[in-house]
Amino acid sequence: MAAEIAKPSVSIQDLSLNFGAVSVLQTLNLDVAEGEFIVLLGPSGCGKSTLLNCIAGLLDISEGRIFIKGKNVTWEEPKDRGIGMVFQSYALYPQMTVEKNLSFGLRVAGVPKDEIAKRIARAAEILQIEPLLQRKPSALSGGQRQRVAIGRALVRDVDVFLFDEPLSNLDAKLRAELRVEIKLLHRRLENTMIYVTHDQIEAMTLADRIAVMKGGVIQQLDAPQTIYNRPVNRFVAGFLGSPAMNFLKGRLEKNGDGWSFVADDLKIPLGTYQFDGQPEAGPAVFGIRPEHVSLNSGTGWPFSTAANVEVVEPMGSDTLVWLQLAQQKFSVRVTSERTPKNDDAVTVGFDPMRASLFDAENGSRI
């Protein structure tokens, strides 16, 4: 996925944005390939929506350039950037029917009438909103409104779609449904899509690549699996995954040729772990996802140890088992059939190959 993008659909170069003395985005670079589905993921306040607004031209940037389809659009008006945008609150014009909502921008732009009709018909067909065309937004359900909002982007006949948390206002069930629809839409249209969300499931399911953001900086830009399995720092590791990754505080020590992670009475040999560079001895954080740990499955693991069950949380198909490891909280995800009981003595085993080691100080992957 790290291949160079020769002709990016959207290219952001050295973009910075300051509000007065507050730096919101810092020298940010991002290339999005033609037809790619990029998700900007991060906690609120990380600058993801701001970045999207910059791409749309709704916010003036402080430094840098933005290219869309190879054209420098840094100073262009939003309407001239060849983008369509879908908003969290739908932003439908409440006094207009669905049809008017879809056509208003086109009419203002002077698109011929039959062309408008054609585009609306197509969008309505794709989104299955034909029966709703004469209704006003107030007479639509949340899901229907969001379809119309998408439709408004669709009729603009543009190359790049921007989604600003489009599903956040919907309930869980609808959200899942529309998620699939957006995915289908992307497959059908093959447009470039940039999608902002704070929901990691949406990010994981939709994205070709995810850009995890924090503090106005892209922490990691990679395919979802890579981000999930090899987070570049502790923030990314902790932000993705539910239940969250286990973190054990301890030290990285060299013993003989190999390295091991030591925390309290625990000593984890790191023979199978792939270091990013040349490790150094010192304080470190050991992270491993609950589903990469097994319980009572023999001693065939590169590392195993005994522990007592503290709390059991059944989650339907799986169960989360909480233990104490090296005086620290540690969770293990097991299938429901193998659930232990409270206070059971168990054996914990895992392969450090699946773990992630982070610098204790700056949190970056070791």
Binding site: D80, M85, P94, G105
Partner: protein, 297 residues
Amino acid sequence: MSSSQRPSKLFRNLNAKVASIPMILTALVVFVGGTAWTVLYSFTNSKLLPRLHFVGLDQYHRLWSTSRWLVSIENLLIYGAISLVFSLVIGFLLAALLDQKIRFEDTFRTIFLYPFALSFIVTGLVWQWLLNPDFGIQRVVRDLGWTSFSFDPLYNSSIVIYGISIAALWQGTGLIMCLMLAGLRGIDEDIWKAARVDGIPMWKTYLFIVIPMMRPVFITTLVIIAAGIVKVYDLVVAQTSGGPGIASEVPAKYVYDYMFFAQNLGQGFAASTMMLLSVVIVIVPWAYLEFGGRKRG
């Protein structure tokens, strides 16, 4: 209210009913009762004191053949039209300007709104002073060398009502601006973004999207303005006392003058009944739509 024959219903929500007694009394005794009383006595020839000596529609015949009443109605229409149009337009314009993420927004808003804190008496006196041809704007311009300059709306019969409107707008537009600004701020930021992405020019966004969205605000505002228009009285008294001649008379002043000054209560009641009638025609349907039918969502 409820009759005592159905005690179970009567005692439901009893506290709420007890708490509403002042409102019910006000509504029934003062507003309905007072109005009915006034209407009833408008058919009498009451002079200084109310007396039930009915004279049919005499008072109304006389009212509509009195030139001062006709002038008053005409003035009210002009003043009303100016107030409605200009306070809505200026109020909205100011609000829209303030909504452009400008610097010193608070300062400007404070400046535009402060006259609203002042009474009509104060407003009238200040503008009387400013529009005084011997001391005010006319003199200042003349002193600058334009000696034929003439601006004396308060002393010119044909434009005096505009002079009053200037003062009224000064006092009242701040409030309208405030209402409009609140309305504008209540509009989803995303709507603006969507319109920009759609390439809709700002004025079209205001005209076709934002203003229609602000319909409730406009209605509230309209009603507030309309209420003020019908009641206009103190301002005229303070600024011109209806002069020159009868050029700036208004109905509320006619009512007052004939009730108390000419000691012809019947005539005053008839005039006020006419005012009521126009208010009722405009307001009742609105009030019922706005507050009566709609149930809590």
